[in-house]
Structures are given as structure tokens and as C-alpha cells.
Amino acid sequence: MKIIKLLMLSVAILFLIFAQNNLDPYTVSILNNIAIFGILALSYNLINGVAGQFSLEPNGFVAIGAYVTALLILPASSKIDMFALEDPAPIILAMHTSFLPALLMSGIVAAVLAFILSIPVFRVRGDYLAIVTLGFGFIIRIFAMNQTKYTNGAMGLNDIPDNANLLWTGGIIIVTFIVMLNVIYSKYGRAMKAVRDDEDAATAMGINTFWIKTYAFMTSAFFEGVGGGLMASLLTTISPDQFTFLLTFQLLIIIVLGGLGSMSGTLIGAVLVMGGTEWLRFLDQNMDIFGYNTGAHPGLRMVVFSILLIIMMLFARRGIFGNKELTDMFKRGKK
């Protein structure tokens, strides 16, 4: 079993190296998008799927991560030049690190914020939790828009050094995947699932459900922050308007489609959603033969995407993988 895992890991790494150097930038960028949204969705699935806390805040954590990394890797001169609305705050000018510490910092800041948020957030349950977290995602974005001294407001940041590439995004999604599985297959992961299945019963087993939820929330936030940092460096530009709840919805679609609570399913979901929207572009170009090819219905792609989404949900009610992992299926196969 261990050998198989190591083999899979090395194949994945070899593929990343090959892809980065040999595939065309378009294919690489699709892989990058899949990897980044995969990272975000994997971590989102921990709190939403594994711990069963239906929360809607990842756009906020992604935003935080993106801004922290961007501000850390942008050189001071560039910041002075860029902050058009107000001069940047001294701390913004002073902060500067290389890429890896910046990513880690993104994760840490997001995780610390998650810790602070967990106190109010986990006072409520169910759909109330959903709206409170939705609110937090909203508030973070609005702050990004208005704290011009720190974020340059709606103008956003650009010329962010493009340190990220497929090796980074691919490497980090592998790390995220392993960490998530390690969490799930530990007493903490079991406790998270217990909280999801029956919170009162989990308490009756002596589990401090607040802390278990907070662990899941912080871990989730950490990787969402890192993913945000990667996104910032990959796009080289960020602005508050890219972190709306539509981002959260996109992640939600990925995890539910793949199977809530299943990390393997999430990877499939990320491929389907991120690859699928690209693939569906042919719909926008159905008039190719006439030379001018936006077709009669530009935007049809998104109509079809939403129909496919509904159909897929109707047929795979618990998502593609349910809440099982690929490894579970192996296990069952062996028996």
C-alpha cells in the first residue's frame, strides 16, 4: 500500500515537471486553475463536507490570502507607485518576503482570523451558520474595498511577481490532499465526521465539538489563504471584486458535485467544473463557419453549464463519490 502511494506521488510530481516544461501555456493554465480551485475546494470540503458545518466564507479567506501574499512579495517601490488613492500605510511598505514565506503567512493570517471568527460563528448552527459565514465573506471583501491604505481599494493590486507556476500549484494541491487525508484518517477527522453526523452524540462521547469545528475551520482557512496567495501570484493582479460569493458558490459546486466529504471526489469536481467551463466554450463559438464566431448566442455556455449542473445533481444526489475516498473503494475491492 505504501509503495503504491509513493509510486502515485512520484508519478504526479513527474507529470507536473513534464507539464510545466512541455505543455502549451493554455493547457498549463487550465491545469493551474484546476489545481488552485482544487486546493480551495479540498480545504473548503474539510469544514463543509467532513465536519458538516455548512459555511459560506471561503471567498473571504481567499481574499485575505491573496492580499497578504501580494503585499508581501510586491517590492516597496512598486507599492508606492501603485497606491493611487492614499499612500500605503508604513507597515504595507515595510513588509516584504520571498514567495514561500509569503504563502505560509497568507495561510497563517487566514487561520488566525478563522480562530477569531470561530467564537461567534460556532455559536450558531445550520443555516444560521451559513448566513453568518456568508456575512463574514462579504464583510472581508468590503473592507478590502474600503481600506485603501492597505489594499488600494477597488483599484486592486497588479504587477504582482509571478512566482507561481504549475510546480507550485501542483505541489501544493498534493500537499493539501495529503494533509486533508491525514486529518480525515485520524482521531480528529473521525471526530469531525462525528460532529457532522450527530453533534449531540459526539458531545456525549466526550468530544469538545467547538474545538473540533475550530480545527477544521482553521485548517480550511489556512489552505484557502495559501490558495489565495497562489492565485494572486498566478494572475499577477487582484482586486476586491474577484472575491464575491460567486467564488464561494463555484467551490460549493465543486465539492457537492464531487461528493461532500470526499477529497478524491473534490479533485474530480475541480476537473469537471474548471475544465468543463473551458470545454463548453465551443457553445459560444458555434458560428465559426461564418468567420465571425461569437455565434448568435454569446453566453450560451453559462446557460448550458447551469443546466448540466442541475442534471448532474439530479442523477448523482450525493455527488460523484458520495462521502467515500478512492482508497475506501480499493479497500472494498480487496475484501
Partner: protein
């Protein structure tokens, strides 16, 4: 006395569910709580386990007062429970359900599990072994990898009790353990309860309707009616007590 309830009163929005209740459970006893539906038995359980905070009175467990102690901490002090309507973790296997009970006996931190440090493996191995031993005692070791929701009712009940035992309790609260079981299952269950009681040195407080079961199992019973204590003593005496009979008749009439 391992458990003592003193002057317990519980009110919900003006309605008195439990009225000035006093009783104690001796170490090693099987103590039964009986009474018609709505008598306040489960409420009493919820007070002992810290899910409800009583309006008045104190709960003393092992010479320590329990007021203000959170439900999950009460478990760590040695009180475990089962639920009236079996509440297993439905998405998990039987083994995983029991492992949840061993949560606090696995000593590794969150980071150790993320990094898969040696302590993670050694502790997981240890609790898995212990969980299997426990399942064997209940005769359901072969079901370890089965999903808990696909078990028969009787086996689900066993898993729930095994899971509670995994927390290493000194006092076990069983809420209608025999409910919904056929006579042979009930028989099986009472044997197991007696076995584990001696083996683990447990004290058991149980709620039950099945009077035959109570008679067979309990050293002592307390009869509740509308939150009031109407009888405490030997089960064989309870069934001939006038008040008790009246209370049960009333219950039947209502039903």
C-alpha cells in the same frame, strides 16, 4: 454513593418537568428509572450529562459537584450515556463509531496526525486494538467494517453501548436499552450488560419501560410521575405499589 442528586428541579418556561428530586446511586449498583412517558426521565439524564442546566439543586458525581461542567467534560469525568433513539454516527463503520469513544485515549496532537509522526501510528494502533477487543466482548467484532446504519436494531444498540464504554466510564446511563427489541435480543442484551458491569466495574443508571427487564436487572428503582418521585426501592416492590400502578394506568388511559 457514586452519584447523588439533591433537590433537583427543572423548569421549562414555567412548566415543571422535575420537581425537587433527591436520590443517590451506590457504586456498583444497577439503578432503574421508571415511569410513564413524559415523567421526566430523559430530562433527568440530560441534567446528569450536563445537556440541561437544572433550575435548582445539585448533582454530585464521585464527590464532585457537576454544575457548570460542560457535557463533554462530564464524559471525561466518567459518565457515559446512550440515547433513547439510538444515535450512531451513521456515515461511519462500527469500528469508527467505537473509536470515537476512544478519542481521548489516543494521545497525539493535531499536528502529529497531519505530519503522520510515530505517535499517531502507535496510538491509533493501540486504540484500534482495544476497540476490537471491546467489539469482541459484544460479539460483533466481525461487523467492525460494516457501516453502522446497515446493522440490525439489536446490533446498533450494542454498538452504542460499546461506544459509550470506550470512553472508559464509571457510570453508564442507558436510555431505554431494550426498547424495540425482541425477547431473545433483550435476553442477549441483559446478559451483556451484566457481564460488562462486573468486568468494567461499572455503575449503571438505566431508564426502561420493560418491567420484566427492570426486574431482572435492577438492584433498585425510582419511579417518576410528572417530575415527582413516587417510589424508590426494590423493583419487585414497585409493581405492587398503589401509586405506581395508578400512575401507569393513567398513562395507559392517556395513550
Amino acid at each position: 454513593m457514586i452519584l447523588e442528586l439533591k433537590n433537583i428541579t427543572m423548569q421549562f418556561g414555567g412548566i415543571t418537568a422535575i420537581d425537587d428530586l433527591n436520590f443517590g446511586v451506590k457504586t456498583g449498583e444497577i439503578y432503574g428509572l421508571i415511569g410513564p412517558n413524559g415523567a421526566g426521565k430523559t430530562t433527568l439524564f440530560n441534567i446528569v450529562t450536563g445537556n440541561y442546566t437544572q433550575t435548582k439543586g445539585t448533582v454530585v458525581f464521585n464527590h464532585e459537584e457537576l454544575s457548570g461542567v460542560k457535557p463533554n467534560e462530564i464524559v471525561l469525568r466518567g459518565i457515559a450515556r446512550t440515547f433513547q433513539n439510538i444515535r450512531l454516527f451513521k456515515s461511519m463503520s462500527v469500528l469508527e463509531n467505537v473509536l470515537i469513544g476512544f478519542h481521548h485515549q489516543a494521545n497525539y496532537t493535531y499536528f502529529e496526525s497531519i505530519l503522520r509522526l510515530p505517535r499517531h501510528f502507535s496510538n491509533e494502533k493501540k486504540i484500534k486494538k482495544e476497540a476490537m477487543i471491546l467489539l469482541e466482548k459484544f460479539g460483533i467484532a466481525d461487523l467492525a467494517d460494516t457501516n453502522s446504519s446497515s446493522l440490525s436494531y439489536g446490533n446498533q444498540r450494542k454498538v452504542e453501548i460499546a461506544r459509550a464504554l470506550a470512553t472508559n466510564p464509571r457510570l453508564l446511563l442507558l436510555d431505554e436499552p431494550a426498547a424495540g427489541m425482541n425477547p431473545s435480543e433483550t435476553e442477549d442484551l441483559s446478559n451483556i450488560i451484566k457481564k460488562i458491569k462486573t468486568e468494567f466495574g461499572l455503575t449503571i443508571l438505566l431508564i426502561e419501560h420493560d418491567m420484566k427487564f427492570v426486574n431482572q436487572m435492577c438492584d433498585k428503582v425510582l419511579v417518576l410521575d410528572y417530575g415527582e418521585q413516587i417510589f424508590e426501592g426494590k423493583p419487585s416492590d414497585a409493581i405492587v405499589d398503589e401509586k405506581v400502578v395508578a400512575a401507569y394506568l393513567g398513562d395507559f388511559e392517556h395513550a
